[in-house]
């Protein structure tokens, strides 16, 4: 952990008034606790990234390659011709400022360069200087500036202070998506060997072992066996689960945090129980043992390299289609990228639920179904016996994760499940949920310990809305369908709203699920005793 010892009231002393001096004249200040460290060299090398080296953002000398400027400008030129989004969003912003106070990092830090408009201007100013006539002719008056090492450092600081959550793009009258701009900036920074550890290390692990945490196949199997034992202890039911089994009907892929971290673990148990109960013919894979994809936070190329395993493994195992677990950015990749980058999935079948016979028409090309789509369909068709009173000790609210909300529109499916497995569900205020949802503040690879102050700042709007429902309704649980959320929200809530726990949705499903042959259950998966049934 960092030495963030500031109390919440100190962190809340926010001033949204920008400084007197213009932003072009204000150089970046790498303040401890507000940025991520670079990646260990061996991971840079394993991924074959350009200019691998030991360096840190707080170093004066970043050991950039001699022709770094040329590399960046050529890279920009290349991407301007490959991405309409990039070129267009460099050109059409009118600086109306509608996006300014929509960014969680601006709300939580007051740093004007965290206004999405200004974050983009950091790049736009360089674009104008080298790629537009007015910028070349009028320089600073035309909103243009030279690309210098200071500018590059500023890019690094602020484009790794954006979680690619796309909230600003909901409010922009032209749909300008800062996520696209951040993606380009990070891709450019990587060309000169400037990456962060919390992205490169998981990506390197994932390429080698199959998952971000670097869990090798035999350890994966051990974990699964351990979970099976735990479910038996809890319910008296011995569930079955196979790894790398050929001929299974479905392949199930979920973020690796689900089987190695807490509170993800209980969601993992929930999956095992649910699949056993409905008699699903499915397999796990140790090769494709990661749903998440930190390549998304690095570059389109890394995204494709890591994602390739899903289809490759589905093909090798001969499954009919793929089912995917609860995760945020994983679903951005699957929904908006996978078919394009690694498809067509013509070796799979159009997904049909083997339990209900429902055709998942909306997935007929990509052939991967979200677990919330799958489970809500089970519930709708009365295939599950559920006792929502088993979750009576939870008064819960639901956090829409950025990507399922703003890159998919997966909004009602999880709510339908919640309403069937719990009795006490309270929504946070409208401006903070669904398409307006606030990021956890640690997404897009920024969840590292050294970045804690910035994470707490970025998570303020989310935590503040949780605080509101805690005070109003006594909410004591924040449920979410994202593995990064589950990893980082406990820290965030502990800081801003102590007393609110975090869970995945299928943990609650597992609690409520009445299993055939179950013993008398007295506690939930966390060992908390069930409350007396409401009469």
């Amino acid at each position: 952990m960092t030495d963030t010892t500031q109390k919440p009231e100190e962190l809340l002393k926010l001033d949204y008034t920008p400084p007197k001096k213009g932003w072009m004249e204000t150089p970046v200040d790498f303040k401890k606790g507000t940025y991520c460290y670079s990646a260990p060299q061996k991971h840079q090398e394993y991924l074959g990234l350009p200019y691998p080296r030991q360096w840190q953002p707080f170093d004066k000398d970043w050991k950039l390659p001699e022709n770094w400027k040329q590399i960046i400008l050529e890279g920009m030129n290349d991407r301007l011709s490959k991405y309409r989004s990039f070129r267009l969003y460099m050109d059409i912003c009118v600086r109306c400022g509608a996006c300014a106070d929509k960014c969680h990092f601006f709300i939580g830090s007051g740093d004007p360069k965290n206004m999405p408009v200004l974050r983009a201007e950091l790049l736009r100013s360089v674009y104008r200087k080298y790629f537009t006539l007015p910028g070349k002719l009028f320089g600073k008056i035309g909103g243009a500036r030279e690309l210098t090492e200071d500018v590059l450092k500023e890019w690094f600081y602020y484009f790794y202070q954006c979680t690619e959550c796309r909230r600003c793009s909901v409010f922009c009258p032209y749909g300008i998506d800062t996520c696209e701009i951040t993606m380009m900036a990070r891709d450019l920074l990587s060309l000169v060997g400037c990456n962060i550890g919390w992205i490169v290390e998981p990506a390197s692990n994932c390429l080698r072992t199959g998952n971000h945490l670097g869990v090798p196949p035999h350890a994966f199997k051990d974990t699964l066996d351990f979970a099976i034992d735990e479910v038996e202890e809890l319910t008296g039911v011995k569930v079955e689960a196979s790894v790398n089994r050929k001929g299974a009907e479905l392949l199930f892929i979920t973020p690796s945090a689900d089987y190695f971290a807490s509170p993800h673990w209980y969601t993992f148990l929930g999956y095992l129980m649910l699949f056993h109960e409905i008699g699903l013919d499915y397999t796990w894979s140790a090769y494709a043992s990661e749903g998440g994809n930190f390549g998304l936070f690095h570059s389109a190329e890394m995204l494709k390299r890591l994602n390739a395993k899903m289809y490759a493994e589905a093909k090798r195992l001969g499954v009919k289609w793929i089912l995917g677990g609860e995760c945020g950015h994983m679903w951005r990749v699957i929904h908006q990228y996978m078919d394009t980058i690694n498809g067509p999935a013509d070796f799979l079948e159009e997904p049909v639920s083997p339990i209900t016979g429902t055709k998942f028409e909306n997935t007929k090309s990509t052939k991967m179904v979200h677990i919330c789509e799958f489970t809500s369909d089970l519930i709708k068709n009365n295939k599950l016996k559920l006792d929502p009173s088993r979750n009576n000790h939870w008064k819960l609210t639901f956090h829409d994760s950025c990507n399922p909300a703003r890159a998919m529109g997966l909004i009602e499916e999880p709510r339908y499940i919640i309403k069937n497995v719990c009795n006490h569900f309270y929504e946070m205020p409208d401006n903070t949920i669904k398409e307006n949802t606030f990021c956890c503040g640690s997404g897009a690879g920024l969840g590292s310990d050294e970045n804690l102050e910035m994470r707490l700042r970025g998570g303020l709007p989310r935590a503040n809305a949780v605080k509101y429902v805690k005070e109003k309704h006594g909410v004591n649980l924040l449920t979410c369908i994202c593995a990064i959320d589950r990893a980082v929200l406990p820290t965030l809530l502990q800081y801003w709203v102590p007393g609110v726990e975090v869970s995945g949705l299928h943990e609650l499903v597992g609690n409520a699920l009445m299993m055939k042959g179950q013993k008398e259950r007295t506690t939930d998966m966390r060992g908390t005793p069930f409350e007396e049934k409401e009469s």
């Binding site: 309409r84 749909g175 498809g343 703003r406 605080k467």
Partner: protein
């Protein structure tokens, strides 16, 4: 004087029109030539998934009709701007509140619609015979016959809206901070066009018959400066209009064309239903199953995991 009028009345308008048309086409082609490698709509509502869950067709369109609807809402009524809120931190209760904030939306809407109506009204000077819808718009716009000649509602509205947009930029320290000189230039240019036009209508009257003669001449490529003379105020107005048109393709004002090409808005969220092709897709270096099994075979065997090669 004739040489000056020739310059202001014929050469400059032709040059401005040329720059406007060629510049705008160049900009649009530049955008259009860049491919859309990924289908990346920003979804603002429930997706289409299971039949019993109601999808939001306009906020999260899944087909072309939905996209057309979404774009129409965006372009005609500024849907996204309508969402605007103002975030405030109430220090006392340590709570973030999100207040309704529709003024920017209103100001932008009033400005753009006024501008469109004013442009359409001007068609009476550029066409012969004048289409009936132009006459209708003019009549409707001049409904309040408070003054002679009739005061146009849009003239007043555009002034109010532009003044608001300017004041807003100056008054808010955040907006001042993000504003570039070109942001002010755009507002000033628009204001000067509007003011010069209004002044001409009410105070420095010009001969409209001659104006129309000039305009029709220019448009039919038989330009001539009317013998009767039009008067300097007209040429001032015309010059400012020309400056605006010539400036447009090089400025942020190209958003008027760009908004139609925005991939977060103009694509259907049918991502898992229909494959999207990336024209520059290329093969990448992956870690194959075989390589992976080679590294872990011993351990996998021990753990009883199935293997491709024993």
């Amino acid at each position: 004087m004739t040489a000056v009028y020739l310059f202001l009345g014929i050469i400059i308008p032709y040059a401005a029109l040329f720059i406007f048309i060629v510049g705008l086409i160049y900009r649009i082609l530049k955008w259009a030539r860049a491919p859309v490698p990924f289908r990346i709509p920003t979804t603002c509502g429930q997706q289409k998934s299971l039949p019993w869950i109601k999808a939001k067709k306009l906020e999260n369109p899944y087909n072309t009709a939905g996209v057309i609807g979404r774009m129409a809402l965006e372009v005609l009524v500024f849907r996204s701007l309508l969402r605007n809120t103002k975030t405030e931190l109430k220090q006392g209760i340590r709570r973030l509140v999100y207040k309704e904030s529709k003024l920017l939306w209103l100001g932008a809407l009033v400005f753009h619609w006024s501008l469109l109506i004013i442009l359409l009204r001007h068609l009476r000077l550029l066409t012969e015979p004048v289409p009936s819808f132009v006459l209708f718009i003019q009549k409707f716009d001049g409904f309040f016959q408070i003054t002679v000649p009739a005061l146009f509602l849009t003239d007043i509205l555009i002034l109010i809206a532009l003044t608001y947009l300017l004041l807003r930029r100056v008054a808010s320290s955040q907006l001042r901070y993000i504003s570039l000189p070109s942001d002010y230039l755009a507002v000033f240019l628009l204001l000067s066009v509007a003011i010069s036009g209004i002044l001409m209508r009410f105070f420095f009257r010009v001969d409209l018959v001659s104006v129309k003669e000039l305009a029709l001449g220019v448009l039919s490529f038989h330009p001539s400066i009317p013998a009767d003379g039009i008067g300097l105020p007209f040429y001032v107005h015309l010059f400012l209009v020309c400056a605006l048109f010539a400036y447009l393709p090089f400025s942020k004002l190209v958003h008027m064309a760009g908004v139609f090409l925005s991939p977060t808005r103009n694509l259907a969220n049918n991502n898992r239903m229909r494959r999207h092709i990336n024209p520059w897709d290329y093969p990448v270096n992956v870690h194959t199953y075989e390589e992976w099994e080679d590294e872990f075979r011993g351990h996998m065997k021990e753990a009883g995991l199935p293997l491709e090669k024993e």
